[in-house]
């Protein structure tokens, strides 16, 4: 399993320089494939491990994996084509796609060997350190994009840190409470220093992903852990902090020493010159203003150079790549303003000629058409905003119901253990105990089904709140 990570990292490190953020999707699949192909060496390392679950059918595993990998190859190719159109560095994509193609068939074979691979957790972990150095440099391999995507509110991303292997869902959902979504117009706030985030998130993430990735990928693990997986995925996801940190205690001491060396280059170089990272910047109008000012000071969009503009702007966390791509876009916008002004205008003239009436060419008619267009567009936007607010509220409601439901469950459980307690579940009387609450009910319909029961205590809670 870790060998996958190793290989992923090796491939990614090579590709890091060239590939931009948007190709990480394609890369994921290629790494996935490449990684599986490398499973063999690790298997040789642990021949002594036997399969403790004789009834476990590796055939099934292989089948599932290959079928889903079949799907993923579809994804991969489609994402490759779309990303290639956006990318400037296509050769790297084709390189990685080749890897996928060559290993797609071997995936099945490798995967079936998985069951005999690792059974014991601890020895595996002990062996991880030699693999982690490379892994760590990528920050998340196994990290949910959410973790990095939670960085977005500060509007920066480190590319290297965003190579997700996306395993356990919101595993770090609550890890970064400090990442409150801020889309502020404040210039300073629009960019955050990247390294700090990288550092403090590293340890926890690596350990989390080591544990969780193993859980997810290794068949035997699933048999062992399947109860915990199904029984409390909710607490695992929502309140995972407690759970995963205890797990991480094991592996944590092993990580720091080995990853230290790799960490250094990443952290020592300032964000701007870190050649590996090509963070995706989220621009704001204020930042753009500063950009335009800088460009004008340097003599205009043609004369200004990315380096000069970067220096002039003096914005922390801004890299030359950001400025370069932005400058390119800016130049295009200036010297080929609004593509619509060329195209449809011609189209309009030809369609207009279809009509005998000359009046169609009058400014008044055009203005009227535009007015109508605005009406529709305004309407659409209005509806979209309403819809979005509704969606936000629905999810908020869902969260609230979930919480209520869990509280009720809790009080229900207490009722079991303390028969002397009152008949009615009382919400306010039960403080939440630390640790995950057992989840009863298979789906989100749970909260809705229990609504009649919840509503009463909920009302009480509301009254008391």
């Amino acid at each position: 399993m870790l060998s996958e990570l190793v290989q992923d990292n090796l491939v990614t490190m090579e590709a890091q320089h060239a590939l931009s953020f948007q190709r990480s999707g394609a890369r994921q699949f290629s790494n996935h494939g490449a990684a599986s192909a490398q499973l063999a060496p690790l298997e040789d390392k642990y021949p002594k491990f036997t399969n403790p679950q004789p009834n476990f059918t590796s055939g099934t595993v292989g089948h599932i994996f290959s079928s889903s990998s079949g799907m993923s190859s579809d994804f991969h190719f489609s994402s490759v084509t779309s990303h290639t159109s956006l990318s400037e560095k296509a050769p790297f994509i084709s390189q990685s796609s080749e890897i996928l193609q060559s290993t797609a068939s071997s995936q099945y074979m490798k995967e079936t060997n998985n069951s005999s691979w690792c059974t014991d957790s601890l020895p595996d972990f002990l062996d991880y350190p030699q693999n982690t150095p490379i892994q760590s440099s990528n920050l998340e391999h196994g990290r949910m994009p959410s973790e990095d995507l939670l960085d977005y509110p500060q509007n920066t991303r480190i590319q290297s840190s965003n190579l997700e292997h996306g395993l356990m869902p919101s595993e770090d959902l609550l890890d970064y409470p400090q990442n409150t979504p801020i889309q502020s117009s404040n210039l300073e706030q629009s960019i955050t220093p990247l390294e700090d985030f990288g550092k403090q998130n590293d340890w926890q993430d690596w350990t989390d992903q080591l544990i969780n990735e193993d859980d997810a990928m290794t068949p035997d693990w699933n048999d062992i852990l399947i109860d915990t997986n199904i029984a409390d995925p909710e607490p695992k996801m929502a309140y995972h902090v407690g759970g995963s940190s205890t797990n991480s205690m094991q592996a944590q001491p092993l990580i720091p020493q080995s990853s230290g060396e790799i960490c250094v280059p990443l952290n020592s170089t300032p964000c701007g010159s870190a050649s590996q990272s090509k963070p995706r910047m989220r621009w704001t109008p204020e930042l753009h203003e500063a950009f335009v000012e800088a460009v004008n000071k340097l003599g205009g969009s043609e004369k200004a150079t990315p380096k000069g503009v970067l220096k002039q702007m003096k914005v922390e966390g801004l890299t030359i790549y950001h400025v370069k791509s932005h400058l390119q876009k800016y130049r295009t916008a200036r010297y080929r303003p609004e593509p619509s002004s060329e195209g449809p205008l011609e189209k309009n003239s030809t369609s207009v000629e279809d009509f005998s009436s000359l009046e169609l060419k009058t400014g008044l008619e055009i203005t009227e058409a535009l007015r109508l267009q605005m009406e529709v567009q305004k309407r659409l936007h209005e509806q979209l905003e309403i819809q979005r607010n509704l969606q936000l509220r629905i999810e908020e409601q869902g969260r609230y119901l979930q919480m209520m439901f869990e509280k009720q469950c809790k009080s229900g459980m207490d009722k079991f253990t303390a028969p002397s307690s009152s008949e009615l579940p009382s919400l306010q009387a039960n403080p939440n105990e630390p640790g995950p609450d057992p989840m009863v009910g298979p789906s989100e319909e749970g909260p809705s089904k229990s609504e009649p029961g919840v509503s009463q205590p909920a009302k009480r809670a509301k009254v008391n709140a």
């Binding site: 948007q22 994402s79 779309s82 399947i226 916008a333 009509f355 535009l370 109508l372 999810e395 809705s448």
Partner: protein, 247 residues
Amino acid sequence: MKFGKRLKQHVEETLPGWRDMYLNYKDLKKIVRLISSSLEYGKSEAEFVYLLNNEIEKFNVFFMEQEENFIIRHKELQQRIKRVNESEPSSQGEYEEEIARIRKDIVDFHGEMVLLVNYSNINYTGMAKILKKYDKRTGGLLRLPFIQKVLEQPFFTTELVSKLVKECETTIDELFPTVVVAAPEMKEAAIIMAGEGIFRNTVAALMTMKEIRKGSSTQSHFSLPVLNLPDTELIRSFQFNSPIPII
């Protein structure tokens, strides 16, 4: 399959450069079906989440790129307007021409931004639906926490684009002459002219939205209410020459 069909139609109708950027709803549905029959719960879920995250990444990248372009173009349009108003009016005709061009450009620009917000919303809706299907099929509890994460993603935090849209509307109000009651023939001609370009896309998007939100069999308190547009008739009257019916 209702949403899937709507999505497919929308993608076909949408701006060419955007077609690959939408959610792979159909494929994800297939995978959910596959997973529900698999024994490998934990692993399948991990892989499913992996795919979803890739989709999210795709959205984010595209969205932020478009957003960046919009910021630039917004400023440029403002500059153009400033320039044309400040410059010595060489001739009334030329001024009018430039203003007319700016008007067209800014309205289309407005439309494109709204379409991006629409893009964001459709993908979010698709995500919510596929997660719901997943939970239903596998008995998992993926939806609630995962959707919380999605809510915070750049592609769904469309506040900035909405702000630009509103600023655009203000500018447009200033740019257009005071309202003149349009004769019905003019309106008709305008409707015909409107059958192309961005306008066509926005109308299509509006109708798609309405259709998606039509009451379904699985309506719950988690569902969006049915969309009732007062001037549906007006919008329906847009007869496009496209072979693909909007509804």
